[in-house]
Every structure is written in structure tokens, then in C-alpha cells.
Amino acid sequence: MISDRVKASLEKLIRAALPTVDYYALYRAKVVSQSSDKKKVDVKPDNPKIPDLTAELVTFGPKSTITIASGSYVLVGWDGGDPSKPIAMGFYAASGTKEIARKGDTADAGTLVFFGGTAGATLTYVPPGVTAPPAPPATNIPISAEIDSGSDTLKID
């Protein structure tokens, strides 16, 4: 069919016009290392058509820095499609397990254990995460706290 040949030619033409890789796309890359000032990362992209490179780290907020573990995955691209300005951003979900606290969140500040025996009363502080001695006759007094300050530049609900 002539129309098929025309269509195939058109598809070939379009494929030829579209680059297989370009400076306006983002590519998955593994973080190899991070500079001491936390502003840059050395990465190894998955796509062999993208070289290993050093990219400026775009973090999630102004005046913020982030420490990235080697082996984490990020997206790399080029600011404005400029090959002289590689950037890294968009961290892939990985093995992080600790939640970030916000102002107003409560905190476990440990436990005070009060024991009033015949030899006199004692008061013992047990840090968070450590199991307090069983009561009675001791009395456990949990200490809770509220976070009352936080980052001026990063706010979340």
C-alpha cells in the first residue's frame, strides 16, 4: 500500500527529527558522591548516552541543604537546556524511615521514675527508648514535650 509507505516514511522522518536524548529531558542517575559544601553531586546516569557528571543540587527549599547518601537515585537534567548547567533534583523514594518533625508535634522526652521507699525517696530519669523499671511500688512519670520552633524557610502541613 502506498499510504503505508508514506506513513512509514513520515514516521521515519519524525523519528529522525526527534533526538533520542536531549538537554530538555530528565534522566535517572545514581549518586556517587556529594561535595563537602553539599551543593553538588557526582552522578552516574542509568542511560549510557548520558555521561557521568557533576551536577548542581536543586534542593526542596531556599537556604536549605540536604545530605544524600551514595547510592541514592536522583533525576538529572540541564537548567534551561544548557549543556553547561547540569542539575540534580527529584529524589527517588528509597530507604528513609524517619519522619520529619514539625512545630507543634509532640516529643517523647523520657520518663521520671519516682520511688518512695523506707530509705528515702529517689527520682531516676530514664531516656526515651529505654524501658522504665516496672511499677509499683515505683511511679513512672512520662515527660512529654512540644516542638516550639523550626525552620524559617521550610513549612509543611
Binding site: P19, Y23, I50, P51, T54, P83, S84, K85, P86
Partner: protein, 206 residues
């Protein structure tokens, strides 16, 4: 012959051989055009062979090696791109342009020609062009559009100002883009050589 990019030549050759690889096209006065046969646009017919020749070593369509550079010059990146592709940088290229420093540069695993284009459009001073010369090397620099000399008598057989082009009767295909003819800047030129005559069709810079 474009002002930016590689020149091509479409030839009909009286031969029954299959022509491939590097070729040199010689014209009457000994002027040579060095290029490489494009096999996708070349084939033998009963009476000879149609031949498409691309200026240079044919490496501009090869996939470049992906590389990243910190604080390179244009020469560093370009030399590597061209050398990996088997192409040669012309000695007539602008040293000032090639010496331009760049904060960083990324070469993708894409066609070498696209890499050269991205480098010169993105990092070289405004007005920088690149093209394959007759000798097959690649020139990088700016065009001075000096009046063409030593090309013999030039007769304008047709001039179409509305389209910015003209047809010239000229003995040899010596005019090249980046020159001027009768005060007009040549942007693109097509030399047509037949047994009867030689004509050069020129498109001027707007």
C-alpha cells in the same frame, strides 16, 4: 554548500564499480573536494553510478561518546568530538573562538553533528559558524564576507531579489559560502556542472 554544516555532492559517474568510502572530486583546475560516499544515497544503474558524497569523513552522523567536562575550552570539547568521529578540525579555524572557556559541558550520546551544533550555538560567541571545507576539514569561526577573488569571470544570468538568490555563469565551482559576490553575502551555494556548462546558484544572506 551551506554556510553552516557539511556540503554534499550528487554525482553521476561513468563506472560499473561500486564506489564506497573516501573519495576526492577533482575539477578542471585541480581543485579538490574531499568527502565520503553516503551509501544510503548511492547506487549503480545500467549506465553508471549515482553517488552522494558528504564533505569530510562522514563522521558527523556517528554517535558521539557521552562525556562531561569541567572548565574546558571549546577546542577541548570540539577536538574530542571530531577526533572520535574521524573528522578533522581546520587549521583556518578561529583560535579566539576555540579558546573560549566554558564552566562545564555535557556531550550526549547523540549524532556528532548535533553535538557540534549544540556546542557552538551554546558556548561560542554570537555569529560563530561551522562547516565542512572543500578539503574535508571542519572550519569554526566567523565569516568576513570578503569579496570573492580568483574565481574567474562571473556573469549573473538570473537575479531574483525577491527570493534573495541568483544564477551565476562561472567557469569553475570555486565560490564558497561566507564570501561575497558583487557585494552580496553568500549563504548557500549550489554548483551544477554538466558537459555543456557550469552554473552556480547562490542564496544570499538576508
Amino acid at each position: 554548500m551551506p554556510r553552516v554544516g557539511a556540503w554534499t555532492a550528487d554525482l553521476f559517474v561513468d563506472t560499473d564499480k561500486t564506489l564506497t568510502g573516501s573519495v576526492s572530486i577533482k575539477v578542471q583546475d585541480g581543485t579538490e573536494f574531499k568527502g565520503t560516499v553516503d551509501p544510503t544515497r548511492t547506487g549503480n544503474v545500467n549506465s553508471g553510478a549515482y553517488l552522494r558524497v558528504i564533505g569530510g569523513a562522514g563522521g558527523l552522523s556517528k554517535t558521539a561518546k557521552a562525556k562531561f567536562y569541567n572548565n574546558p575550552t571549546i577546542r577541548t570539547v570540539l577536538s574530542s568530538l571530531l577526533s572520535d568521529a574521524g573528522e578533522t578540525l581546520s587549521n583556518s579555524s578561529s583560535s579566539a573562538t576555540l579558546g573560549t572557556s566554558i564552566k562545564a559541558w555535557t556531550v550526549l550520546g547523540a549524532p556528532t553533528g548535533a553535538g557540534v551544533k549544540a556546542l557552538l550555538e551554546g558556548a561560542a560567541p554570537a555569529g560563530t559558524v561551522w562547516r565542512t571545507l572543500r578539503d574535508g576539514s571542519i572550519f569554526v569561526g566567523t565569516d568576513s564576507f570578503t569579496e570573492a577573488s580568483g574565481v574567474g569571470e562571473v556573469l549573473v544570468t538570473s537575479d531574483i531579489p525577491a527570493e534573495g538568490r541568483a544564477e551565476l555563469a562561472i567557469d569553475l565551482p570555486l565560490l564558497v559560502p561566507g564570501q561575497a559576490i558583487k557585494g552580496k553575502k553568500i549563504s548557500y551555494i549550489e554548483h551544477v556542472i554538466t558537459p555543456e556548462k557550469t552554473r552556480s546558484f547562490v542564496w544570499y544572506e538576508s
